[in-house]
């Protein structure tokens, strides 16, 4: 699925990344260094937002690149944009790390300790700002606009800060059930809209 505008700098970058991944699959270290130069700042920014700790984000980025070196051959250009593929690897590393620490309780045991001991950085754009910024690509913009404010905020916080249902409920001061249904509805709306947009291209 592509939610991309016309051929842009992003498109060119993706072509370059795809070519580099093909070479990395063959063990080309120079291509690997080039990929790091091109993509690490974006991926580090994604990681740091989710794990909310610079040193930890560095560790996640390292693990992600080690994984890219070993699995570049599994990247399929027909299935996803390279930056999307790379972002997924980084996000999964971060989310796995976050979730490993979490006590697996569901339904929610209401407990003040559940409140996340952090605040989003006040100087940077908020998760909702970022969601809207990502939505600059027209198709995505239209889809994000379809989200009501609750689902939009829940999805933005979950996506950019790696909050679980439980943490979302605590942060948004809403019952767990409400938050879960916001997420569910929001994702369903995005899916319908993005797939329709993708199919139309």
């Amino acid at each position: 699925m592509t939610v991309d505008g016309p051929r842009t700098a992003t498109g060119e970058r993706n072509e370059r990344l795809a070519a580099l991944l093909a070479r990395i699959a063959l063990g080309d270290q120079r291509a690997f260094a080039d990929l790091y130069r091109l993509a690490s700042a974006h991926l580090y920014a994604v990681a740091i937002r989710i794990v909310r700790d610079g040193a930890l984000a560095e560790e996640m980025l390292q693990e992600a690149f080690v994984s890219v070196w070993h699995h570049a051959g599994t990247y399929d250009v027909a299935k996803s944009q390279p930056i999307t593929w790379l972002t997924s690897i980084v996000r999964n590393r971060c989310l796995d790390w976050l979730r490993r620490r979490e006590v697996d309780t569901e339904p929610l045991a209401t407990n003040d300790d559940d409140a996340p001991a952090w605040e989003p950085p006040s100087d940077g754009p908020s998760p909702v700002d970022l969601l809207l910024a990502a939505a600059d690509a027209q198709a995505l913009r239209r889809c994000v606009d379809l989200l009501e404010s609750g689902p939009r905020q829940a999805i933005a916080l979950a996506f950019f800060h790696g909050l679980s249902h439980r943490e979302l409920a605590s942060r948004l001061h809403e019952p767990l059930g409400t938050v879960k249904s916001w997420v569910r509805r929001g994702l369903a709306t995005l899916r319908r809209c993005l797939d329709a947009a993708g199919g139309a291209q």
Binding site: T10, A19, A22, R23, A25, L26, G27, D28, R30, A31, F32, A33, Y36, S40, A41, H42, Y44, A45, V46, I48, R49, A57, E58, L61, Q62, V66, G73, K79, S80, Q81, T84, T87, S88, R91, N92, L95, D96, R99, R100, E102, D104, G124, L131, A134, D136, A137, L140, A158, F159, L163, S164, L168, V183, R184, L187, A188, L190, R191, L194, D195
Partner: protein, 238 residues
């Protein structure tokens, strides 16, 4: 729980969406990741949602990581040098080494040849050398060619066979773009890989060659499908 059953697709879709967004409880997350390893439908659903969702990250303002991150990656992977500029030096050192070796061999040939030149075949140092080594830096193959020839001569140095029902395939890695297949490497210690065009044309814009493990007859897709066992820089002496 068989999530790939058609009547459970809706449930799978929701679980996959929450997995990709990252909101699934840890137990569900672990469970789905495990199931995805053996169930292709589940795996496809997860990666489809990951693609859909990752688009949202497009506009996160970039933050350059500290230089130690790259150094650590190289250390963890045992890559050639500890940082990028140093690696350039590494490549140069390697070229210098092979040049010195080529010149040394030439001198050796001349000295020995003085005594035995009548019997010895005339040896011309190949003007193109590629030393293909594995991740452990051990040399596995040496490719040589002389300008104008339509083949590469490969000498196997390592003793790692490709394994049962596998072949080794040689690839040219251009500066940009996809790897180009050069051909399957035949069995034997010194073998030739035929080329369609003279070697200096075929490799004119190719900085690196690599060897991957492929099914018999070579990669079915035209792209490398198996692990890369050796790679090396193309050193030209012309």
């Amino acid at each position: 729980m068989n999530l790939s059953r058609p009547d459970r697709r809706e449930r799978l879709d929701r679980l996959a969406a929450e997995f990709a967004l990252g909101t699934s409880p840890p137990r569900v997350r672990r469970r789905l990741a495990t199931i995805a390893r053996r169930d292709r439908v589940v795996a496809a659903s997860l990666s489809e949602w990951e693609r859909r969702i990752a688009v949202l990250a497009d506009r996160v303002p970039a933050t350059t990581p500290p230089p130690r991150v790259w150094r650590n990656i190289e250390t963890r992977l045992g890559l050639e040098a500890d940082r990028v500029p140093a690696r350039e030096a590494g490549w140069l050192r390697r070229i210098a080494f092979w040049r010195a070796l080529a010149v040394g061999s030439l001198i050796g040939i001349v000295v020995l040849g003085a005594a035995e030149w009548r019997r010895a075949p005339v040896v011309v140092p190949a003007p193109l050398v590629v030393v293909l080594s594995g991740a452990d830096a051990k040399v596995g193959l040496i490719a040589t060619a002389t300008r104008g020839e339509r083949y590469l001569t490969l000498k196997k140095v390592g003793n790692a066979p490709p394994g049962q029902d596998k072949t080794l395939e040689l690839w040219a890695l251009p500066q940009a773009g996809a790897p180009q297949p050069l051909g399957v490497i035949p069995q034997g210690n010194v073998v030739r890989v035929p080329l369609q065009n003279p070697v200096d044309e075929t490799l004119s814009n190719i900085p690196t060659l690599a060897v991957s493990v492929e099914p018999p007859g070579g990669s079915p897709t035209g792209k490398p499908t198996g692990p890369v066992v050796y790679s090396g820089a193309v050193e030209r002496m012309y």
